[in-house]
Symmetry: C2
Subunit: 287 residues, 2 copies
C-alpha cells in the first residue's frame, strides 16, 4: 500500500466537491494553487464553461483526469429511451474531447426518477435488466472512441432514485456478462461511501482485480446522516475505515489516484481554499 503521508501526489479532486464555490475554471485554478494534479469533472460543470474552454483549461493546467462524471441514468420508459441513449453518446464524445480515462456510470433507478417524465414503476428487477441492455448498447459506441465505462455501484439508499446497481458484486456481474474477456472496455468505479458497509466487499475487490478497478473515490459516512444525498463527510469525520479499503484495492494492483468526492451542504458553504486544505490534510492522514 502506498504511503500517502508525505505528499498528495495521488489526490484527485472530483469537481462536484466544490460545485457551489465556483465554476470549473475557478476550480482548476484552485487545484493549481494547491498542487492538485488531477480532477474528475462533471458534465454540467463542463457545459457551464463550454467543452472547448474546459478541455483547454485542463490541458493548460497539465491536469490528469481520473474520470468523467457521469453517464448512465439508463432506466426509462419507451418514450425516453432514445433521449437516454443519445445523452450517453454525447457523454462519450465529451469525455474523449477532454481526454478522460473513463466515464463513470450512475445507472439510474426506477424510470420515473432516472428519466423524469417516464411512467411510474416499482419493478426494480426490470430496471436492472434494462441497465444491462443499455450498458451493452453504450459499450458499442464507447468502444469506437476507445472510452472505458466504469459502473459505479451506489449505496442501497439510492436504489430507487439514482442507481439500481447497489453492490460491487452486482457491478462485477454486469462486467462479466458484457465483457467476459476483460478487454478493458468495462470496469467499476468504487466509492467507499457506497460500499463500505458490504460484508462481501473484500472478496469482491479481489474478484475485480486490477483490470476492472477503473476508479477509487473517497469521502466518509457521517452518523447521523442528516440528508441522504448531500450530507457526505470529509474523510476522517465519519465511520469508514478508508485505509482498509484502499489497501484492498491496491493489493490488486490499483495504482491510480484517490479521488475525493464530497456532496455536502456543509462543505459547499466553506471557502474553496479551506476545503482543499482540509482535503489535502485528510488525504495524508486518513486515506
Amino acid at each position: 500500500m502506498r504511503d500517502f503521508s508525505a505528499d498528495h501526489r495521488w489526490l484527485s479532486l472530483n469537481t462536484a466537491t466544490l460545485r457551489k464555490q465556483g465554476d470549473l475554471l475557478e476550480i482548476i485554478d484552485a487545484c493549481a494553487r494547491h498542487g492538485i494534479r488531477a480532477i474528475d469533472p462533471w458534465r454540467d460543470q463542463v457545459a457551464a464553461v463550454g467543452l472547448d474552454r474546459a478541455a483547454r483549461a485542463v490541458r493548460d493546467a497539465g491536469l490528469d483526469l481520473t474520470g468523467y462524471c457521469r453517464g448512465g441514468m439508463f432506466v426509462a420508459d419507451a418514450a425516453h429511451r432514445t433521449e437516454a441513449r443519445d445523452d450517453n453518446r454525447r457523454a462519450v464524445d465529451e469525455a474523449k474531447a477532454l481526454g478522460a480515462p473513463c466515464i463513470v456510470l450512475v445507472v439510474g433507478g426506477l424510470p420515473q426518477y432516472s428519466r423524469p417524465g417516464s411512467v411510474l414503476s416499482r419493478d426494480i428487477a426490470g430496471a436492472r435488466a434494462q441497465v444491462d441492455d443499455a450498458i451493452a448498447e453504450m459499450m458499442e459506441y464507447a468502444k469506437q472512441a476507445n472510452m472505458p465505462l466504469a459502473v459505479e455501484p451506489l449505496h442501497p439508499t439510492y436504489a430507487a432514485d439514482r442507481a439500481c446497481v447497489n453492490t460491487t458484486k452486482q457491478a462485477l456481474d454486469i462486467c462479466d456478462r458484457l465483457d467476459p474477456r476483460r478487454t478493458g472496455a468495462l470496469g467499476v468505479a468504487l466509492d467507499v461511501y457506497h460500499i463500505w458497509w458490504d460484508p462481501e466487499l473484500l472478496p469482491q475487490i479481489a474478484r475485480a482485480g486490477k483490470d476492472r478497478l477503473l476508479a477509487f473515490h473517497v469521502c466518509d459516512w457521517l452518523v447521523p446522516t442528516k440528508d441522504v444525498l448531500n450530507d457526505r463527510g470529509m474523510m476522517g469525520d465519519g465511520v469508514i475505515d478508508i485505509k482498509s479499503v484502499r489497501a484492498a484495492v491496491e493489493a490488486q494492483g490499483f495504482a491510480g489516484y484517490s479521488e475525493i468526492e464530497i456532496f455536502s451542504e456543509g462543505w459547499w458553504a466553506k471557502p474553496m481554499d479551506e476545503v482543499l486544505r482540509t482535503c489535502i490534510e485528510r488525504h495524508r492522514t486518513v486515506v
Copy 2:
C-alpha cells in the same frame, strides 16, 4: 399467495407505529376497535405500563403476538458487554411472560452507537464477529425459555448505528452457522423496508425456507426519504413492490401475519384511528 383483499385477519400491528399517540394499553384498545388480531410490542412501551399489566391486557384482548421488539444491540466494548448480555436476557424473560413467539434482534452497529459509552471503533468486521458470538450466547439462554430469536437484517443505511447485519444472506449465514440443524431456535425477521433493494433477495428467501421465516414486516420506502430513521412510508406510498416480496415469503410456506411497522413523524402526528383505518385499507389493497 393468500388473498388479503376481503378482510384484515392477517394484519398485525407493530406498536411503534402508534408510539406517539398513546401508551400500549390505548393501542391495544384501538386494535380491538378496529378488529386487529395481533400486535408486536416494543420493550419500552411494555415497561411504561408495566410487564404484568401489558401481559394481562394482551390476554384480555385475545391478541396474538407476532414478536417482541427488540433484543440485540450486541456490539459493545468490554466494559459494556455484560450490560448487553443481561439486557438481552431480560428481553427473553419479558417475551416469555408476554407469550411472544419470538424476539426480533436488531444486532447493533459500531459499539459507540449500539452501546453508548463504548469506545469509538470503525471496525465493522469486528462488530460482525461480535454479533455472532453474542447471538450464540443469547441462544443458550433463550433455548431454556424455548424462545426463538429472529435476526432482522437492517438496510445498509443503518450499518454504522443500528445493525451491521444488512442483507438477508448475512442473516441466514448467521442462522446456518449457529443453528445448522434448523432447530427452530433461530431465524430471520424480514422487513420489506430493509430488503427490497437487494438483488439477491428472492433466492435468499427461498434459501430461508419456512422454518427460518419467523416474521414478515411491511411499510414502504419513500422517495425522497427526508429522514433516514423516521420517514418510513405507509404501504402504497413508496416504491416497494410489497406483494412480490409477500408472494416469495408465502411460496416458502410462511402463513403468519403481515406486520405493519412504520416509523414516521408524519404518521405519528395523525390520530390513532385514522392511522389504523389507513393501515387496514392498504393491507387489503397493496400488501
